[in-house]
Amino acid sequence: MSIKGIGKAFDVPYGFLEGMPRIEMWGKGCVTVDGYKNIVRYDKDIVILSCKKAGVEIRGFEMEIKALERGYVEIRGEIASVTINSGDKND
């Protein structure tokens, strides 16, 4: 098992990434989160997503949810920060 972008150079113990979301940033204007469970809060300046083992907090301005499907969300806007709070289920 390896983390995306790091490849085989960094081996992660099995089970570490289980339930963790896969977050990708496309410049400062777009963030995609794959593997989230629920949207806890959605506002223009903050989006909080809950995952199995972590919570994702995205802060920014004029944020829109461009696409939303089962387990996948694409957020566009002026992204200021993306924080992962691992271990805390409903951040």
Partner: protein, 242 residues
């Protein structure tokens, strides 16, 4: 671009949801399998989103359960364009018959052209082709080009090549004729040698017959060069080979 076309075909609905449980509705819609797009927060109590017709129907039920209001802001796409005409069966029948007609007509041959070397008469080629049932209006799939080709090549000695190419509803008949054998006079038959071109005789050697022209003479087309008559010693004539 393709995505937009798919949305347009499925029908796109932009809806405004009013209520305090915006996130709850989004989560419920996601769990029910609705694909939502362009979710925009307008204020604390309302948000706008886009979905397809099926998704909107599911969203309506979810909103009712959560005591939220849902309102369509914009409708685009094919289902909304054709919905005013849904009771006018004639239009749909016309469109359907148009496409069926186009399909039926495109499976047939409507025009012919012949590409040949001029050895065989074009009317004859058309007659041969027509004898195999290929005429304007024939169904292309029923024409066995290979079979016809081999049959024609065996039956008619005039052709060295025969093929039919289809370009949509146009058929191109490609033929190559066989060169006719020249009439060769048998060796034992007496004949004159006649000039078939104008020119100057540079050399003339006659082994049998009577030489009528000499070296250096100019001749024109049709002049007799060598006669088949031979003069005997007694002054009478005989023919070559007799």
């Amino acid at each position: 671009m393709i995505e937009k076309c798919v949305f347009w075909l499925k029908g796109d609905v932009r809806a405004r949801i009013k209520g305090v449980y915006g996130e709850k509705i989004i989560n419920a819609a996601k769990n029910k399998g609705c694909a939502l797009r362009n979710i925009k927060r307008l204020d604390l109590e309302s948000l706008e989103l886009e979905t397809d017709i099926g998704g909107y129907k599911k969203l309506r039920g979810i909103c009712r359960k959560n005591k939220c209001k849902i309102k369509i802001v914009k409708k685009t796409g094919l289902p909304f364009k054709i919905s005013p005409y849904r009771h006018r069966y004639g239009i749909f029948l016309g469109i359907l018959s148009f496409f069926i007609g186009i399909y039926m007509l495109s499976t047939r041959v409507w025009s012919f052209s012949i590409t040949d070397d001029g050895m065989v008469d074009k009317n004859k080629i058309m007659e041969i082709v027509a004898s195999y049932g290929i005429r304007a209006g024939s169904v292309k799939s029923k024409i066995d080009v290979k079979g016809i080709r081999s049959d024609i090549m065996q039956k008619y000695e005039d052709f060295t090549f025969f093929n039919i190419n289809f370009y949509g509803s146009h058929a191109e008949i490609v033929t190559k004729g066989r060169e006719k054998k020249q009439n060769v006079i048998p060796k034992d038959m007496a004949c004159d040698i006649i000039c078939d071109k104008d020119g100057l005789i540079e050399r003339i050697i006659v082994k049998e017959g009577t030489k009528l022209k000499e070296r250096g003479e100019t001749v024109i087309k049709g002049d007799r060069l060598v006669s088949n008559k031979l003069m005997r010693a007694d002054g009478s004539f005989t023919r070559v080979g007799q």
